[in-house]
């Protein structure tokens, strides 16, 4: 693991090269299977890890993730703009999604002044390194905004039915002609395309973590100009910020606070009996990883990252299955309002699975095409209206759970 981290570009290429020469067609992931660790208790380290996410140099903090908090708060406001009685236009909401500094997009003036934006971070991680895919993914989220204004707002007083957009139930929920809520697709989709991708495939990804220049600067404690941190420290904090940047008390996060994205669902999965403790696994892995950066112990850092890959990916998968199964039960009971709401969330979480990262393979637990295949089952025909017998939903749940080490029953609790 150490060489992989240090020389991820060249050395792993050479290793693969020899492997390919010796034994063509061998599974490239095999040799990693035994070495991967998934819980913090398996990490051996010989440095102090603080109780809270507080790290200092000369008594001044070295932690900074303001840009990540900004984006989480921007996301929260944008979700609020998916309102059938809004005075905003699709253009206003798209402008907020693609915010530019001093643009008057948000209610929170601090966000208007921010130079950060969500759009260009969607599916844009260094490890994915695919600008065509990024552009297509960004366009998908833009299309949710457009479709909300084109399909949902005009039919807000129509009773939804098979093939007809409108409202469902008492609350009510506003759905498209297939029973889907665009705000849920947007919200839960961004958990993967923004948060998980930025955390696992960007800031904790091979390109950044394996960057020899950053490692050397960290080892020499060469600080970023005008800052109290090394680039390496800062990148780790930016990963942390995408998870906890909008939580109550981000240095010791327990309650979700203003978070609408990943952390909210970490707390929810943590409340399920089969997954109790996952919140502490993730928080502790972040603390250990950050302390490892300070201690320049890059083996431990790699271990902590593996735990984060495993645990964070699992949160997304558990929620996908949870909502699929809840949707199935609600459909059986003809509770369409709850069913469509839950299935919309499931749709977003399934979409998000393509941004997860399996520490055994370095790839997503479900590939882009596997995710597409699952989503097309939900999209087919009249969408959620056609899923009442539950077989398709169980099928999808099983496919997902099979990729992980939990059962559908555990996630459906």
């Amino acid at each position: 693991m150490y060489t992989k981290l240090m020389n991820v570009g060249i050395l792993s290429g050479i290793v693969l090269l020899f492997a390919a020469c010796k034994n063509e067609g061998d599974d490239l992931g095999d040799e990693n299977d035994s070495g991967v660790i998934t819980t913090v208790s398996e990490i051996d380290y010989d440095f102090d890890v603080p109780a809270t996410y507080v790290f200092t140099r000369d008594s001044e903090t070295t932690v900074s993730f303001g840009g990540q908090s900004d984006r989480l708060y921007m996301g929260k406001e944008i979700l609020g703009f998916f309102d059938v009685n809004t005075t905003k236009t699709a253009e206003n909401v798209k402008s907020a999604f693609n915010h530019s500094e001093n643009g008057n997009d948000f209610d929170d003036a601090n966000l208007n002044e921010s130079s950060k934006k969500i759009q260009n971070k969607v599916a844009s991680s260094n490890d994915l390194n695919d600008a065509v895919f990024a552009a297509e993914s960004q366009n998908l989220f833009i299309s949710y905004i457009d479709k909300f204004f084109a399909e949902i707002v005009p039919s807000k007083d129509v009773v939804a039915s098979k093939g007809v957009a409108g409202y469902v139930g008492e609350k009510p929920r506003y759905v498209n002609s297939k029973g889907m809520e665009y705000n849920q697709l947007f919200n839960k989709g961004l958990i993967g395309a923004l948060v998980v991708d930025q955390v696992l495939n960007n800031y904790l990804g091979d390109v950044r973590v394996g960057n020899e220049e950053y490692i050397a600067d960290n080892t020499n404690e060469t600080l970023l100009e005008g800052e109290n941190y090394t680039t390496y420290e800062h990148h780790f904090d930016e990963a942390y910020g995408y998870v906890y940047g909008a939580a109550d008390n981000p240095i010791a996060p327990v309650a979700k606070g203003d978070d609408k994205f990943l952390f909210t669902y970490i707390t929810q999965v943590n409340g399920m009996s089969a997954f109790s403790g996952i919140q502490d696994q993730i928080f502790s892995a972040f603390k250990i990883g950050r302390a490892a950066v300070v201690a320049q112990d890059y083996d431990v850092l790699e271990d902590a990252i593996e735990v984060l890959q495993y645990q964070i990916s699992k949160v997304v998968a558990v929620r996908a299955v949870y909502y699929l199964e809840a949707g199935k039960n609600n459909l059986a009971a003809q509770e369409y309002e709850s069913a469509f709401h839950g299935l919309s969330e499931a749709y977003g979480f399934i979409y998000s699975l393509q941004f997860t990262r399996n520490p055994n393979t370095g790839e997503a637990y479900l590939s882009i095409s596997e995710v597409e295949a699952l989503l097309s089952k939900l999209d087919a025909g009249d969408g959620f209206w056609d899923l009442t017998d539950g077989t398709v939903l169980d099928e999808i749940s099983n496919t997902i759970a099979d990729k992980f080490d939990f059962t559908v029953a555990e996630a459906a609790e």
Partner: protein
């Protein structure tokens, strides 16, 4: 993307198994890089320099005629030659390699703005101010790097279009103005230097650099393919996207819209023509399209096709060509006169064209160069 990565490694692995040679083999894959370099050199780069120097020679002649007889007809003719050379320059701007890199041809030929920096008023000064300073002091050395903003096409833009509101007023500066001799001398100096720099680079290509360029086809970061591909990306990012659009609309940093920072501010109605020329030159180099011909040869496009590189299920070469097409057709919808357009309240379409160009750059920088195993030789901040 990962798949492409592994495919590439497999390609590398197979190559090394077969030949038993090192990773830094001159033929890293099945594509003939020297054929690409030959096509670029013989059908795009050298013809571009030849045409460019032709245009500058015509400009030179028109300048001499104008200095001899400074009248309106000769001013109009000189201006026409200036624009024709400026359009061809948009091609040459890309090839910052060899002698051009050595003498900083791009910087000395077309530095018409720098991005706004807060509390640094120098960053917002216009070409005309630099030119006037030189003319009034009467002592200047255009070969100094402190003089980048007082020469080249932007200085000629000022001298031919910016000295007065009408042609009659401009002519006065070369005839009855107390500094008429100085204006005339400056016009002479700037034109001469433009031609001599262009000719120097062309001569170098014709006297041996072509072979150096073509034979340097190994897979090192200093190889011609690596360097010129980086030049293509750098030019599209800095000379096209940032200088022509981003900086005038104050896209980065402190958002200050300064429409005077457009390319050809003094002429005003040619910024769009120049932008389209710049985008088209970039597209043609990518596609391997011969200068002023419909023939297409080996290029980055055919290289991507040879390796069967795809993105989101489509051929990457086609995706890129489409992105170029879209940016060009979007550019065609802009105002002829960027200065007026950007002075309007609604600069949304300028932001849009910037995004379209940015998308091409992103795809070149990520999908393409990783697929072709080319290393980016520069990076910029990622804005986080």
């Amino acid at each position: 993307m990962k798949k492409i990565f592994y495919c590439l490694l497999m390609v590398l692995a197979l190559g090394s198994c077969k030949g038993g040679s090192s990773v830094a083999d001159c033929m890293p894959d099945s594509f003939d890089r020297s054929a690409l370099l030959t096509n670029w050199a013989d059908n795009i780069i050298i013809p571009s320099y030849t045409l460019y120097v032709d245009e500058l020679t015509s400009l030179q002649t028109a300048k001499d005629v104008f200095i001899e007889t400074p009248n309106e007809q000769n001013l109009v003719l000189l201006r026409t030659e200036w624009l024709e050379a400026y359009i061809v320059w948009q091609n040459v701007s890309i090839y910052e390699i060899g002698k051009a890199e050595n003498i900083r041809l791009r910087d000395y030929t077309n530095t018409f703005n720098v991005p706004h920096v807060k509390d640094e008023p120098e960053t917002d000064k216009l070409t005309g101010e630099f030119v006037e300073e030189n003319i009034s002091s009467g002592s200047y050395d255009l070969t100094l790097s402190t003089q980048l903003r007082s020469q080249g096409f932007p200085a000629l833009d000022y001298l031919l279009n910016g000295l007065g509101d009408t042609d009659a007023e401009i002519l006065l500066k070369y005839t009855s103005d107390e500094n008429a001799a100085k204006y005339t001398l400056y016009l002479d100096d700037v034109s001469n230097r433009l031609l001599s720099m262009g000719a120097e680079v062309m001569t170098d290509w014709n006297n041996g650099y072509r072979n150096t360029f073509i034979t340097n086809d190994c897979n090192a970061s200093t190889s011609s393919l690596n360097k010129l591909t980086n030049d293509l990306i750098f030019n599209l990012e800095k000379a096209t996207r940032s200088a022509q659009i981003g900086t005038p609309i104050g896209y980065l940093g402190e958002p200050v819209v300064i429409p005077e920072k457009v390319q050809a501010f003094y002429k005003q109605d040619v910024s769009k023509v120049l932008l389209i020329a710049s985008l088209t030159a970039s597209k043609n180099l990518f596609n391997g399209k011969h200068l002023n011909s419909d023939t297409v040869g080996e290029s980055l496009k055919s290289y991507l096709d040879e390796l069967q590189i795809t993105a989101v299920g489509n051929d990457l070469s086609i995706v890129l060509d489409t992105y170029y097409e879209e940016a060009i057709s979007e550019a065609q919808k802009l105002d002829e006169n960027f200065y007026e357009g950007i002075s309007q309240v609604d600069i949304e379409k300028y932001r849009d064209i910037r995004e379209s160009i940015h998308l091409i750059i992103e795809v070149l920088k990520t999908n393409m160069i990783s697929a072709l195993d080319i290393k980016a030789d520069y990076s910029d901040s990622d804005g986080d």
